[in-house]
Symmetry: C2
Subunit: 262 residues, 2 copies
């Protein structure tokens, strides 16, 4: 299995503190040693750093731990391989282009047996069930909205529909974003936290490191963190429900209307 | 304008020596300061490092200069912005998925006015003419071969056809690869070099650094380098002709039959 880390903010923020704790799980405090990756949206652009070395000893992870990239949408993943060898092509997050956006996806769990149509435009490059599931989501979106990106509300309904089909096959905890929408789906394990004013000190679970966010934030900042297992031990993380799909915007989950035909 | 650097080898090779000279052109020996990027194919997987900071001072470039990634297909680019702002979404190389492969593209020149059909699957995320041209190439390939990747020979014919159409609009020097085929097209400026046994010392143009390849190669190694301007001053670089499209494999250009309908 793997672990996920996501961040969605109203103002571009660096993820150095959270990534430091998350990285420790890739070989130090936990056993997710089979590669890692992190995607940062910067405007419409997207940068992915990844390595098949454990995050705790990867030179690329060291760069990311020390190089503050400010982003509003971040998706990270550390891998413990189940399906597919240890390689770059099997490392999350995966990236594709749909409409005029890049889409990024990372998955925790197993969803065996997802099949794509022969003429599916999106196809996996590697061997993981995760990448195939990502392709199935995007192909469903593309078929429903072939020309251009729909509204977030329409997107939510369509993502929920295809997610339910795939989630019937196993554990489908995932993070999905195009730099505008930020989806988090929970099958078994996913927590989130909204960090906002009044800010306080936070202490990592995996390293004895604290940061006092009062000192480095402005009152209007708001940051949502989403993780397989809470990253800090003194903040009020909320466990998502099985089958719950949240859409985050500007650092908090937004309530979407009941699913309807789109 | 921009500069291109490509590498195609028969055995996975690091590009540290060439990248060091190339990087110097991003702010030290030349003025290509508006971002840079490099893509490494590793198996079917692909890793891209990029930054909108000049390559000479970018922390990400420093990582790439010091972290040997072994690859058979590498495409790098340093940018001097003409069309599109300085941002990640406008930084080359660009990446897309087509069939079950990632495709990577970097361009030097200007090809204004390329238009995509409204229902083109491939769409640009940023504002450059380069990314639009890349989308036009992939869309032409997808329409001709909708289900699966054709042979390199068929691919060559189709790439040549769409390239001629686009190149009629301006300077279209580019590198394009899916980690299997490696295309280089010259409109105005592109040189290549095949480095093979008997190996000798090479000296960079942009830095006073030499490497004796006799000491770090095996006799069967063969490496093709492709660059806008030769990187070394004591090796026999070949200037490509205007309108020439080369397909490199295993570290050398292969002769393709005359263009035919595919």
């Amino acid at each position: 299995m793997c672990q996920l880390l996501g961040m969605n903010c109203n103002n571009p923020t660096d993820i150095l503190f959270s990534f430091q704790g998350f990285c420790a799980r890739g070989g130090k405090t936990d056993c997710h040693q089979d590669g890692w990756g992190i995607a940062f949206f910067e405007g419409a652009g997207c940068r992915v750093f990844m390595d098949h070395n454990p995050s705790i000893s990867s030179p690329v992870a060291e760069l990311v731990r020390n190089f503050p990239i400010h982003s509003t949408h971040v998706i990270a993943h550390i891998r413990k391989a189940s399906v597919g060898g240890i390689s770059i092509e099997n490392s999350h997050p995966f990236t594709r282009q749909l409409w005029n956006r890049y889409w990024v996806f990372a998955h925790n769990g197993d969803v065996p047996g997802v099949e794509l149509e022969k003429d599916s435009f999106f196809k996996p490059v590697g061997q993981t069930d995760s990448e195939t599931a990502f392709c199935a989501i995007l192909e469903a979106l593309r078929r429903k909205f072939p020309i251009k990106r729909p509204s977030n509300q329409q997107l939510y309904g369509a993502v929920q529909e295809i997610t339910r089909t795939i989630a019937a096959r196993g554990a489908f905890n995932y993070l999905l974003s195009d730099g505008e929408a930020f989806f988090a789906h929970c099958s078994t394990n996913l927590f989130y936290l909204v960090r906002q004013a009044p800010f306080a000190a936070a202490h990592l679970v995996d390293e004895d490191i604290s940061v006092d966010f009062k000192e480095i934030t402005s009152p209007s900042d708001r940051v949502a963190l989403i993780a397989t297992v809470p990253l800090t031990d003194n903040e009020p993380w909320t466990q998502m429900k099985a089958g719950e799909l949240l859409l985050f915007q500007d650092g908090m989950p937004v309530t979407m209307p009941a699913r309807e035909a789109v």
